[in-house]
C-alpha cells in the first residue's frame, strides 16, 4: 500500500483528543553536540508557549527527544524507540545528514511524517524517493550557489580555496559552488578531510596545503567543530587568509566560541577570530533585535526555555522557527477552511471538522499548502508534490566584533535560486508579519 492509498481518515499513532506527540533525534551529548543540543530546548519552549495558549485545536504538543550522540547506530535504535515506544505522530527537526540517512528510508517506508529535517542534503527532499521527508533548511547546493556567486564576484582577483568534509554535505556544497562557476584544484586549492577526523589530526595538513598554495579566501563546508579546528589550526601555523567564508551550519557563533573555549581559547580571542567571517543565512541573525521574529522568539525563549544554555543564537532561532512552522502546519491541517489536494480534500476537510489529525492529511497539507506556512525566513517554503526543499533564499553577512552577523554593505539583500541550474537572483518575497501573539495563522 502506498502513502496515497492510505485512507485519509485512518487513525494514527501519536494523536489523541488532548495531545500530539512529536519525536526528535539529535546529538545531546558527544563531540557534535555543542550548539545543536540547544535546538530541541528552543523547539520545546515554543511548543510550551503554544500549549500555554490552549494548544492546537485543544491538543497540547509533546516533544519527545532522543539523544543519538551523532552516531548513526544509535539513530536507528532511537528512531525505533520513538516509533514503537513513544508512538510519535511525526518526526520533527532531526539533526544530522550522516545520522538521518540511516533512518530516512525506514521512516518513509512506515509513512511517518518526517518534517523540518535539519539537514541541507538535497537528496533527502525528493518526494519521489522520500515522500514524507521535508526540509527545515535550504539545501547545501542552494546556499553554496549563492555564497559562491557572491565570492566569485566580490573577489574576482583573489585565489579562492575550499576546505570540505568528504561526504554528502561536502559533496553537495561543492556541487553548488560549481554551479556558481567556482571550481577548485584538488590537493591545491581544494582540501578535504573525512568527517570525524577533524579533532584528532587537527586539519594541519589541509591548512598547510591551502597556505602553501596561496589561497586568499578560504571557504569551509563542514560542521561547526571543523570550522573551529580549522581557524585555530590556521592561527597556530600563522596562516591568515584574507577572508573566511563558511556554509551556515558550520558558522554558528556561540557554537564556535563554545568549542574554541573548550580548547582554551578565551571568548574575546574567539570573537576576534570570527570578526569578518562571511556566512549566509536564510533567516534573520539572532543578534538582530530589530527583527520582529527575533524579538518575539527571544521573548518566548526567555519565558519558556528550560534548557541549560538558553543564549539566543542561531540554534535557538532555528528551534523556535521550526516550532513556529510546525505549529502552523498542524493548525492548517486542522483548519476547516483549508483546501487540500483533490484526492484527499473531502476526507481531510471532514477530519478538520472533527478535529481529527492524520498523517495523510498532514503530509497533504505540506505538499499543497507548504508555501503558505509562516516562518521567520526571508523566502517561502518551497514544498510541493515535486520538491520538499525548504528555503531558496539566503543573505550574505559577516560577523562583527560582537559576533553578530551583519549584512555586508549594511543592507540585507536576499538572493534566491534552486538546487538545479537556475540563476541566482534577488528575491522579491515579502515575509508575512508575525502576529502580536506570535502564533501562526495558518
Amino acid at each position: 500500500m502506498t502513502l496515497a492509498e492510505i485512507p485519509a481518515n485512518a487513525a494514527d499513532p501519536g494523536v489523541s483528543a488532548t495531545e500530539i506527540v512529536l519525536g526528535m533525534q539529535l546529538p545531546e551529548t558527544g563531540a557534535a553536540s555543542p550548539g545543536y543540543n540547544k535546538v530541541d530546548d528552543a523547539m520545546r519552549a515554543y511548543f510550551d508557549y503554544v500549549n500555554s495558549k490552549g494548544g492546537i485545536g485543544g491538543k497540547k504538543i509533546r516533544l519527545e527527544v532522543k539523544d543519538d550522540g551523532y552516531k548513526a547506530g544509535l539513530t536507528i535504535s532511537t528512531a525505533s524507540s520513538l516509533i514503537n515506544k513513544e508512538k510519535v505522530f511525526a518526526f520533527i527537526g532531526s539533526i544530522g545528514t550522516q545520522t538521518h540517512i540511516a533512518v530516512i528510508k525506514d521512516i518513509n517506508r512506515r509513512k511517518i511524517p518526517d518534517v523540518f529535517v535539519n539537514s541541507g542534503f538535497s537528496d533527502f527532499y525528493k518526494p519521489s524517493v522520500y515522500p514524507t521527508s521535508f526540509a527545515a533548511l535550504g539545501t547545501y547546493v542552494t546556499e553554496a550557489k549563492i555564497l559562491g556567486k557572491y565570492l566569485k564576484e566580490k573577489y574576482p582577483d583573489k585565489k579562492i580555496g575550499v576546505l570540505y568534509q568528504s561526504d554528502d554535505f561536502g559533496r553537495n556544497s561543492l556541487e553548488g559552488f560549481a554551479k556558481a562557476g567556482l571550481t577548485f584544484e584538488a590537493k591545491k586549492t581544494s582540501a578535504d578531510f573525512i568527517a570525524g577526523t577533524q579533532g584528532s589530526p587537527g586539519l594541519a595538513s589541509q591548512m598547510t596545503q591551502l597556505k602553501a598554495n596561496g589561497v586568499e579566501i578560504v571557504i569551509i563546508a563542514a560542521v561547526s567543530s571543523a570550522t573551529a579546528v580549522a581557524l585555530l589550526t590556521a592561527s597556530a601555523i600563522g596562516y591568515k587568509p584574507e577572508k573566511w567564508a563558511v556554509i551556515s551550519v558550520g558558522a554558528d557563533a556561540t557554537t564556535f566560541q563554545t568549542i574554541a573555549g573548550s580548547r582554551g581559547v578565551p571568548a574575546a580571542m574567539s570573537a576576534a577570530m570570527l570578526n569578518g567571517l562571511i556566512t549566509a543565512s536564510h533567516a534573520p541573525a539572532p543578534g538582530d533585535t530589530s527583527d520582529e521574529y527575533v524579538a518575539a522568539f527571544k521573548k518566548i525563549n526567555d519565558d519558556f526555555n528550560k534548557g541549560a544554555d538558553k543564549r539566543f543564537d542561531n540554534n535557538v532561532m532555528q528551534g523556535m522557527n521550526i516550532g513556529y512552522m510546525a505549529t502552523g502546519a498542524l493548525m492548517g491541517t486542522l483548519n476547516t477552511k483549508t483546501v487540500f489536494s483533490a484526492k484527499n480534500n473531502k476526507a481531510c476537510q471532514a477530519n478538520a471538522k472533527k478535529g481529527t489529525l492524520t498523517r495523510v492529511c498532514f503530509i497533504d497539507y505540506l505538499n499543497t499548502n507548504g508555501s503558505k506556512i509562516e516562518s521567520a525566513a526571508f523566502t517561502a517554503l518551497q514544498y510541493s508534490t515535486t520538491t520538499h526543499e525548504a528555503f531558496s533564499g539566503f543573505w550574505i553577512g559577516a560577523y562583527d566584533a560582537t559576533t553578530v552577523l551583519q549584512p555586508i554593505g549594511g543592507t540585507r539583500v536576499v538572493y534566491t535560486t534552486d538546487s538545479g541550474n537556475g540563476p541566482v537572483t534577488v528575491s522579491n518575497y515579502k515575509r508575512p508579519a508575525i502576529a502580536a501573539d506570535a502564533l501562526p495563522k495558518n
Binding site: 550522516q98 540517512i101 561526504d167 570525524g196
Partner: protein
Amino acid sequence: MRKLIAALGAAALLSTTAIAIAPSANAAAPTCTTDSKGLETCTGKLSNGAGYLIKVPAKYNGTFFYWNHGVRFTYPLAGVVTVPKGVEELTPSNVPEKQMLLSGYGLATYDRVSPGGLRGWDAAAGVEMLKELIDVVKANYTVKKGVVYGSSLAGAILTPFIEKYPTYADAVGIMAGVTPSIGQSVQSLCDAFYILSVFADPTIKGCAAMGVKGAAGFYAAAAEFGKVVALLTAWGGNLGAPGLEYPAALKGSGIPQRSALLLTGLLIGLPAKSAHMDGITTSAVIPEQSINATVAILENFGEAIATGTFGGQAISEITGPGFYDNTKTNWFSLLDPADSGRYNLGLSGDGAIAGMLGVLSLAPRVTGDPAAVAKLKALDKSKFDTTKPVVLLSNEADRLVFSGNQALYQDKARAVYDAKLAIYEAARDNAATSAERAAAAKLKPFFNVASLYAMTPETYTKYTAAGLPDFAAAIAPSGVGHESFTKKQTMAWVKILAHAADTGKVGTPGYLQQYIKRAPGLNSDLDYRPADLKYIW
C-alpha cells in the same frame, strides 16, 4: 506409535522392548523402543538410506513437529567441518527435546542425504525426504496437527514442500532460513571472493574455481576459503591498518586495507554488527563508530565466506561450473547511500569510496556459463502462495543467512496476498446478488505470515584496558549468530507455531506480542524490516 499402544495395551509396552512396525510405502520399517516413562523412540531409514528419528511422549497431544536441519557437509575438513554420521538433532539446537516432549508434542526428523550421498544444497531431494518422513509418522500415529519447521537451508525445502504437499502440514516455521533460494546469497558471497581478489589477494579465484564434482571440487573450494582465512588472520592482528597493496592503481593511496574490507562487507550486505561489535561503541583504538563496524565485518567475514565457499561448491554440483557471473554488476549501485554516509570515515571518505569502486568497476570481470547462471537463478520455483500459517524467525545480524532473506520471503508472500486481495475486492465490488456477495466473501484472503526478529542490545562491545576489542568477553545475548536464539525466543516461536497449526492462522499482533514479551530480545516492532539482500530475483 500411539495407535499401536492403544491397540496392544500400554502395560505390555512399558518396557524397552524393541518392535518392528509397518513401514511406509517407501521407507524401511522403523524400529521402536519405549522407556519406563512411556517415551517411544523409533529409528529407521528412508528409501534413499538416510536415517530418521521419531520420539513420542506418553502424553502425546496429537501435534507433531517435523524438524529439518540446516546444511551438512559431504566431505570433512579438519577443524572446519565434519561429516555427520546420522541424525544429529531432533529439535532446534537450543530447545531441549525434553521440553518439547513434556509439552506433549511428537517429534520427528531425518538426516538429509540426497541420492549420491550429497548433503549440500539439494533442496529438491529434501522435499521428497520430508514427505517420506511424514508418511512414516502418519502411518503409525494419529496426527491431528503437523508443523514442519527447520533452519537455514531448510528454508529452501519447506517453502516448496508446503506448496507441493499442502495437506502434509498445518503450519510452517522457518528459522534463519535461506528462503526462497540460496542463489541470491551465493551471488553476494561470490562477490566477496571477487572483491577480495581485487583488493587483497589476486590469486583468489573464488566461485570461479568451483564446479568440479565430488571431493576434488570440495577441496578446491576449501583452498579458496583458506586464502581468505589467511587474509582475515592478518587483519585480525593489525585491524587492517596497513595501506592497500592491490590493485596497483591504489597502492600508495593511503587507503587502509580495513576500508576495502568494510567496503566488501557493505557491498555484499554483511551485517555491521557481530557477536562482539555493536557498530557503535568506541575506544582509544576504535575511535569511531564505523571503525567498530569494520571490526564487526572482520568478525563476521569468516563464517560468511565459509557459507560462500561450501554453499557455492554445493550449488555448483547442481548448476555445473560457471554459475557466477559479474559482467553486469554495477558496484556503485550495490553500495547503499545510507552506508556510504554512515560509514564514511571507516571507508576513508568519499574520495576513497570513489577510488575503490572505480578500480573495482574497471577490474577484469568474471564471465560465467549462461546455462549455469540460469540454473542458479532457477534453483527455487516457489510461488509463495501457501495459505498455511508461516512463522519466520531471524537474527537481526545473522552473518551466514542475512536477515534480508526473511524480508524477501515476506515481500513475495505479500505480493501474492495483494493480488488475491485485488481479486476479492473486484468480486466484492461487482457483486449484485446475495449469492455473488457470498461467493466474493469466500475470496477474501488472509495474510498468513508472521515475521519475528531477534535484536541485539543497543550497545554491548567490551574493550580491553588497552582499548582493543575484547573478543573473550561475552557475546551479545541476542540478535547475532546463525540459528542462535535464546531458549525463550525459540520456545516462543514453537508455541506460536503450535497455535498457528491449531487455528490455521498466525495469530493477531496482540497474540504475538504476548509471546514476544516473554522472550527478551524478540522485536516487538512487527513492522521491522532489515536491510534488503543485494540481489533479488
